[in-house]
């Protein structure tokens, strides 16, 4: 009976082929440093899930953002846990992605044939930092407001283009409701979509080239 059901599903989905190609692959001997990439991926997923929960209550307007966060912390069942995980997950993700980059650097895994994997990786690092920068403003508290004021000022110090960049980031000369709306859109749509896309390519490349081995003296 079960065999029949399995065969039926297998015939249509072709899971076996997936298994053979994705999971049952040979790999060079690895060690614990090789888990950092998948740990980054795991954190991305966790941030996505907790983030979705947070948007249920969060309101991106200067009048309500702060209070909606207070409500998540005090009013919503387990809201504090979800927000706590999202908050610490952000910091941890930055650390882990950075250390993952260092490990790839140290083992020279960015060399032929994995140059593109590295390039995409830099995009991932910058996008992750971008997520941190845009997410930090959302609670609309004093620390966030003034850190973003200074952060955008720094971006605005680019010669010639500075003024334009500053206004594009803030949606005007000052931090306002528009800034919050922009950062919110970037934080929940733009950057995650870009991240997800690049992660897809990153993973495809890793499967295609296989994980690099640890170099020995003659290499």
């Amino acid at each position: 009976m079960w065999k029949k059901v399995y065969d039926w599903i297998e015939e249509r989905l072709g899971l076996k082929a997936l298994y053979d190609n994705l999971l049952d692959r040979p790999e060079p001997k690895g060690n614990w440093w090789n888990t950092l990439g998948s740990a980054s991926l795991f954190l991305f997923v966790i941030q996505g899930l907790t983030g979705i929960f947070l948007t249920v209550y969060y309101t991106p307007s200067p009048d309500h953002a702060y209070d909606s966060i207070q409500y998540i912390m005090n009013g919503v069942a387990f809201g504090w846990l979800i927000r706590g995980i999202h908050h610490w997950g952000a910091s941890l993700m930055i650390i882990i992605v950075f250390v993952h980059m260092l490990r790839v650097f140290v083992t020279a895994s960015f060399k032929y044939p994995r140059e593109l994997t590295w390039l995409i990786g830099i995009g991932l690092l910058l996008l992750t930092l971008g997520m941190g920068f845009t997410g930090y403003l959302l609670p609309w508290h004093q620390m966030a407001y003034w850190a973003t004021t200074v952060g955008t000022q720094i971006a605005g110090s680019v010669p010639f283009l500075g003024d334009f960049i500053l206004k594009a980031l803030r949606g005007g000369p000052d931090l306002s409701a528009l800034t919050l709306q922009r950062f919110f859109a970037a934080h929940i749509w733009l950057l995650p979509a870009a991240l997800a896309g690049l992660i897809g390519v990153h993973l495809y490349l890793i499967i295609k080239h296989g994980e690099s081995h640890y170099p020995s003296r003659d290499e």
Binding site: L81, I85, Y112, Y145, T149, E219
Partner: protein, 468 residues
């Protein structure tokens, strides 16, 4: 890279695969363990440390010292140190734009800059040591980020030490490393390069330690944030007592202002009734407090108009207090008592009992700039030492201390029979348990801390049970 090398690399990789492991289950197993560990760490952090709160954003509070997320702190510090360099430091965009762009650019193009097929560590001394120094510098810059570049006494030493640590030594080390690497061509000298980076690292740690010694990190200014509704109501009540009571009275029902210079006898509408609370929503009340009613005599309280005024969060707390106390549509939660009640023979302390009482009942008048016989009550020291009658206000063990008399409805008269001090507080009177706290505190010698008070505790002598 020519096809021959590529072929070699690929063959080499195939051989490694032969003697390797399987993705499933070998690698996945490790991945899952690490992910699980991360998840547990996150839950623990969220549960036991939680998320630091900060007051609501207040665009008018320009005195606020900005502080970015920790992972941008090193950049912040780098900019501050760079600004110290004479001349060059003035051209801001060199540091804010050029240096980060070059850094990220080099990192991005790394596979196209470092095109040699060599992978083993000793053959890549230059990239490894350079990256090591830079990452180490980033960590140290993050650690010293809370130390100001100019110390409290105005000395520039901390800034100089930090600049040597964060810019000079690593800069010098990088130059030496490049020199060592290129002097020999193909093979970089391993030992000298390791010694160079090791020495640089030790020196950097030394200077970092020196900075910590000459200028300890400034303690972050405590920001009190009321997290729960109860805390908010109580914070609002304290703020209301300080700022609003003189005109609106402690229950908001004053209709004729008394004893306020310039507004004596002014008729106002009470602010505790439905007329006000039903017609104005929270945002509108917050606006009234923010802008005041300058035409009618109420000063603006918002930071934008009054540098010593209230922040957005503080105004919100006052509104919350008004709603939950006076608006009959809101049910007030069970509040924590102002101070813990006292057992027989227990002695109150300034920290635990007197401070909250003073804040609620006396501070509105007894602070700088008010009419109060120069009796200031904002700290323990002030209460004991200020006032025109400082020597008679609080006398240890004396029931006739002026303070005790006036709070019990007994005005103090001078020789001519004229009033020296009126009853306190001038309007209304203190609850009896508050008066009791004052009496016990002064009779037992005004202890400051809870420990000092506990030392004075005399357990009541048990009443002997009559034997039949």
């Amino acid at each position: 890279m020519n096809d021959e090398t590529k072929k070699q690399i690929n063959q080499r990789y195939d051989r490694e695969l032969q003697r390797g492991e399987r993705f499933w289950p070998d690698s996945i197993f490790k991945d899952v363990i690490v992910s699980l560990a991360i998840f547990i760490v996150l839950v623990l952090l969220a549960t036991f440390i939680g998320v630091e709160n900060s007051p609501k954003a207040d665009p008018s509070d320009t005195a606020y010292i900005p502080r970015p997320e920790w992972y941008f702190l090193f950049l912040f510090k780098f900019l501050a140190l760079y600004g110290q360099i004479p001349l060059l430091g003035k051209v801001e965009w060199l540091a804010t734009v050029l240096v980060p762009t070059i850094g990220i650019g080099l990192l991005t193009l790394l596979p196209f800059i470092d095109k040699s097929p060599w992978r083993y560590y000793t053959r890549r001394m230059l990239p490894l040591t350079v990256m090591g120094i830079i990452v180490f510098d980033m960590v140290l810059l993050t650690l010293v980020s809370d130390i100001p570049t100019v110390s409290e006494s105005g000395s520039k030493l901390p800034g100089i030490l930090q600049t040597v640590m964060g810019l000079a030594i690593p800069g010098l080390a990088l130059i030496v490393l490049y020199y060592l690497a290129y002097r020999r061509g193909e093979d970089s000298p391993v030992a000298p390069m390791l010694w160079t980076s090791g020495l640089a690292a030790v020196l950097m740690v030394g200077f970092a330690a020196a900075t910590f010694i000459v200028a300890p990190p400034v303690a972050k200014t405590e920001e009190t944030v009321a997290n729960t509704l109860i805390e908010q109501i109580s914070a609002g009540q304290d703020l209301y007592s300080v700022h609003c009571v003189e005109c609106h009275g402690d229950d908001g029902k004053v209709t004729v202002i008394e004893g306020v210079e310039g507004l004596e006898g002014k008729e106002i509408s009470p602010i505790n009734g439905r007329d006000m609370l039903y017609t104005l929503n929270d945002a509108a009340i917050a606006e009234v407090i923010n802008y005041g009613r300058p035409d009618a005599g109420m000063n603006p309280f918002g930071k934008a108009y009054n540098p010593e005024g209230l922040t957005k969060s503080e105004i919100d707390y006052i509104v919350t207090f008004m709603r939950y106390n006076w608006d009959d549509r809101f049910e007030k939660p069970v509040m924590k008592p102002l101070f813990p009640s006292l057992a027989d023979g227990e002695v109150p302390s300034y920290d635990v009992h007197i401070a909250p009482i003073v804040k609620r009942y006396c501070i509105s008048c007894h602070r700088a700039g008010k009419d109060n016989n120069n009796f200031l009550m904002t700290s323990y020291q002030e209460i004991l030492t200020t006032g025109d009658q400082a020597d008679k206000n609080l006398v240890k063990g004396d029931m006739n201390s002026y303070l005790l008399q006036v709070i019990q409805g007994q005005a103090i008269l001078d020789e001519k029979g004229e009033e020296l001090i009126g009853v306190m507080p001038p309007k209304g009177h203190l609850p009896t348990d508050v008066i009791d706290v004052w009496i016990r505190w002064i009779m037992n010698g005004m202890p400051q801390t809870a420990e000092e008070a506990a030392a004075l505790y005399v357990p009541p002598t048990p009443v002997p049970t009559p034997t039949p």
